[in-house]
Amino acid sequence: MHDIERRALLKGAGIGALAFCVGGAEVMLTPRAARAQGVALRTLSAAQAAALDALGETLVPGARQAGISHFIDQQISIPAEEALLEARILNVRPPYANFYRAALGAIERASEKLNQGRGFAQLSEAEQRSFVDQMRQAKLEGWQGPPGPFVYLLLRSDAVDVVYGTMDGYAALGIPYKAHIAPTQRW
């Protein structure tokens, strides 16, 4: 990560948005806005982002539009000590990109094996729900990767973060956020 990016992110820590790269310049955006603007991904492939979007939406409705794949992509592209991911407090060893690659890879392999070559994003909503339910209970046969229940816990937490962990999320639930120092842009 370039120094200028780090400075931008630290500034973001104060104002509540994250540092995304738009047209070669660092811009402070919420993940929702980054998704809406089609900001280029830095670490995830398009296929991985599509799978992550589908997983997030299956886990927590609204996660896709809230920008879960841009959130994860931005977070696994910065130094671990600056990361805000739940992976951090669940003792995942940095670099966190390794965990997400392994988890998404395991999901895709399992999905393709069980669904005639179709990846998770290609499944119907009912199939996606069934897959996730099996994954959380470690019931997917031939699973190869981080334990399914742990992948479920962590990705579910990421989806909860982007949908309910923000000021907008509290507002949607009808409860006060009650900030001492508020993240701005309702993130």
């Binding site: 805000l84 009808g174 409860i175 993130w187």
Partner: protein, 526 residues
Amino acid sequence: MAVNEKVDAVVVGAGASGSVFAAVLARAGKKVVVLEQGPDWQPKELISSDIWGRRIKPAGGPFLLEGKNPFGYVYQAGWGVGGAALHYFANFPRLLPNDFKMRSEHGRGLDWPISYSDVAPYYDQVAQDVGVSGDAKAEEIWRPAGRPYPMPPMQTFRNGEIWRKGCESSGIRLVPAAVGMNSIEYKGRPACIYDGWCHIGCPIGALANPLVTYLGEARKAGAEVRARAMATRVLTNAQGNKATAVEYYDANKERQVQEASVVVLAAWSAQNPRILLNSATDKHAKGLANGSGLVGKYVMCHFSSGTWALFDEDMQSYLGTTGAQLMSYDRYDKTSRKGAFGSSFIVAGTALKTSDLGGFANARLDLFGPDLATFMKRAARGLTRIGAFGEALPNIENRIELVSDKDEFGMQLGKIVHGFDQDAVALWNANFDEGLKIAKATGAKEVWSARGNMPTIHLMGGTIMGAEAANSVTNSYGQTHEVPNLYVAGPGIFATAGASNPTYTVLALSLRGAEQMAKDWGTIAD
């Protein structure tokens, strides 16, 4: 390598225990340097957000986590000035007299070399120093009398009060929780506003974190806090009987040596043993202060049995503090649970946030998709929780040791091996059973146990205190038996865990150790 001018004391770790030593010694006129591996956090950086709050915890600690019940390291560890006490819940229950003589009274666990009466005056003093709110008189149904707390109890909310009815049905008496928070303005620090963001750092200083208590006082008295200084070894003289300095790596990853007359290791129960083991020399082949072979041994932690209750009514679930509003020692006797052994400490009433490990999204981990969305709506105002911390006995197999892999400074990584024994599991289950009974008596619409992997909470032990060098690492002041000018501070010196949140005891023991050091400086310092 740079060798820094010798100071009176170098303290490794700017958390709860190190801050006390730094304050006491600096006030006594000693030149003190505090080394802290992480950043120098300022209150204004403590953004009210579970997401942003993760920055004040380590990013992958230098420990492998193994055993039947691996310890949840990062969530509870500190990273930066303030240490773990920058994000602790500030529940301030004491240990009780029965914690100190478990071996003598029950033939189980270990004895402490001191009694409750040795620590009690320091509990009272800490309460005045940092500010504790509560009702000391009400607690006297379980413990000897002491001084009143300097502030009245905190405000309670429906999410706490509802548990009174349930607990009464089981004969459990609830009293106001003792907390290190301001129910009223105290020492120029404002009163709490009950926003429930304690666990990601209180930026207004209503919660007694080190920045606004002992560490702030230490700085005012002249102590220097050096952030981003990663301590790797304690250096000793040729004879191996005196500590002479601490080796550390600065923000530029340059090797530095800070010479000092006294060394205090206050880097928490995991890192202190790692540093001691990494400080092996020909005079201390097994690691410094490890003649007993007990450095890194008897690692302990608490577990918790939580019970959820969901109401249709507004329980004010979003109001209060992260810690407890009410508490009870009525299950604290070691034999209070049939078929189990150890103390339980009950807490009720907490402000709930949406995300993070303690967030209410995790109250029903089995739910996802539209079912989770429906639950979140209901839980936002109607959910509340009661919990019981349980005591795990010291077990020599629960340990911290070095492994061959190294960190960026060439220091061997550590490994924390931890598992609960059958007594702990039985106690955990018994507390779940009673929790459900209590919850049903509240009249809640739905109740359920927060079962999952058995949680590991509050790391203790690893450098236990004792009366003899053969069976412990330090004496009751934290002074190592083998190197008199080397102290260990923090929950690592606990001989048993009790079931109370440990930080109040950490502060009390640190104050006791620091005052002894200052008083006997002439015989201790090199």
